[in-house]
């Protein structure tokens, strides 16, 4: 069971709590977590990453077990603490603007 923390606007979009859980088969990566998240909450498709390219949106960042993994490969294996659910995978809307 993977814990995923969503930013405020995606919580309201998905009508869910700040933290949700998803199940991932196989290696736990950014990609596999986002695939599982979008399968559970289809309304989030296209919001964290582009529909077609699956590229991360520029103002979205990812943290795993407290470490910024935004620019890591989406297929890199994430820390065991995220895979076991002891630490969350965080999707964060970048602080921008005035």
């Amino acid at each position: 069971m993977i814990r995923v923390v969503l930013p405020f606007h995606l919580q309201t979009l998905a009508n869910c709590e700040r933290e949700v859980t998803v199940d991932v088969d196989g290696t736990v990566t950014q990609r596999s977590i986002l695939d599982a998240l979008e399968a559970r909450f289809p309304m989030l498709r296209g919001t964290v990453r582009e529909h077609v390219t699956l590229q991360r949106r520029p103002r979205v960042r990812f943290f795993a077990a407290g470490k910024d993994v935004t620019h890591d490969s989406p297929d890199d294996e994430l820390p065991t603490s995220v895979a076991t659910g002891s630490k969350p995978f965080m999707i964060v809307g970048a602080v921008a603007g005035g």
Binding site: H9, N15, P42, M43, L44, R45, G46, T47, E50, A94
Partner: protein, 394 residues
């Protein structure tokens, strides 16, 4: 007619203002989609309970929302809270915000680039939906004008969207370039007498018309004169801000251009200027009286560099003959220290009698006149910056 429903899109959510037919006591509901930019909210002419909304964010992209109960509840078409119970291969899920340019060999090429600010070619990149135009006869059909400029259509209530690529595929496409607000298709005028005829406007490419339901398009910019482009009478490149027409007279089009207020009586084949005695012919919205096809309203703005009203006075101007003679409508509007703007989709009319006129400002006010513009009052004063105003007469 029993009620008026005003659909307001703002920088920080949508609001719904409702009144009985007298239009002097209003209730305000919202914000819906709080914190998101709501570029446009518009109801179906054939089913007023069916409303579409464009919700977007620089962080999380485009969302399409739909209500089937007059705005009380909303959902993303095709999504369902009970997704785990939905059958495989059932209704498509989570694609209602998927706007993908047509790159098919049959209809989509060559559609790969347009002109960028520096004159180089730039790939088309979807940013957001500026305008939603529900069909005049089918609540499940709706058109979407998007940035970068293209026209999309849904025929399944917003679940899926498909580009009418003939517009972007016009031979002039590679010459289109963005205006200051981006390269957006912001105006869609449907012809109630001819479902195959659609007029669109793009900043800063100009106006285009199809006569075959969107398969092929032609520029309709003859008579426009734009000093700010290299060839002022070019076939494309004009910054058209808005176009409107009365349903009973679709061949007569009124246009607010970057500068100049224009009129066409031949469906856009040719245009003539009717700016006349306006204090400024720069502005964004233009609207036609619901019962008099010759009565037109604009809101003059000082200039493209100074997006506020001349002399700090918020004035709507009305031409009773759709010509060069305009009268200022000021009663109830601030006549000093007013420096708001009124954006292109932020003015609308109801179908009550006498006709009601509505507009919203970047200062967060939504004004109504229930006497054809003779006097005004604010329904609300402190909303976020208003991006769009539409009215349903129910």
């Amino acid at each position: 007619m029993t009620a008026i429903r005003v659909l307001v899109g703002t920088r920080k959510g949508a609001f719904i203002l409702t009144s009985d037919a007298r239009r002097n006591k209003w209730s305000v509901d919202g914000p819906y989609f709080a914190g998101w930019e709501i570029y446009h909210v518009k109801g179906s002419p054939v089913d007023p309970d069916r409303i579409y909304a464009s919700q977007s964010s620089s962080w999380f992209g485009q969302i399409i929302q739909r209500s089937d109960d007059g705005g009380k509840t909303w959902s993303q078409p095709g999504s369902d809270d009970k997704v785990d119970e939905m059958p495989q291969g059932g209704m498509p899920q989570g694609v209602s915000n998927k706007f993908v340019y047509d790159t098919s060999e049959e209809t989509g090429k060559p559609l790969t680039t347009h002109q960028w600010y520096d004159g180089t070619q730039h790939p088309w990149e979807f940013a957001r939906v500026w305008h939603l135009e529900p069909s005049l006869d089918d609540p499940d059909t709706c058109y979407a004008g998007v940035e970068d400029a293209a026209l999309f259509r849904t025929t399944d209530g917003g679940v899926t969207w498909h580009e009418l690529a003939g517009l972007r595929g016009h031979t002039s496409g590679p010459d289109w370039m963005p205006g200051a607000g981006g390269m957006c298709l912001h105006t869609i005028v449907l012809d109630p007498e001819n479902t195959d005829r659609i007029v669109c406007a793009i900043s800063a490419a100009g106006a285009f018309r199809t006569e075959d339901g969107g398969r092929t398009w032609a520029p309709i910019n003859q008579g426009l004169h734009s000093e700010y482009i290299p060839e002022p009478t070019a076939e494309v490149g004009h910054c058209v801000h808005h176009i409107t027409a009365h349903p009973s007279n679709p061949n007569t089009l009124f246009m607010q251009k970057h500068w100049d207020v224009m009129r066409s009586d031949d469906g856009g084949d040719s245009w003539r200027e009717i700016s006349g005695n306006l204090p400024s012919d720069f502005g964004f919205p233009i609207a036609v009286h619901s019962h008099d096809p010759e009565t037109v309203y604009v809101v003059p703005i000082l200039s493209d560099s100074l997006h506020y009203p001349p002399d700090g006075k918020l004035r709507v101007y009305r031409s009773r003959a759709g010509n060069e003679e305009w009268e200022a409508l000021t009663k109830g509007l601030p006549q000093e220290h007013c420096y708001v703007n009124v954006l292109r989709d932020a003015m609308a009319v109801d179908r009550a009698d006498p006709c009601g006129i509505y507009f919203g400002t970047t200062g967060g006010q939504v004004y109504v006149s229930n006497n054809e513009g003779d006097s005004w009052e604010a329904i609300v004063r402190d909303l976020p910056a208003v991006l769009s105003v539409e009215v349903q007469t129910i």
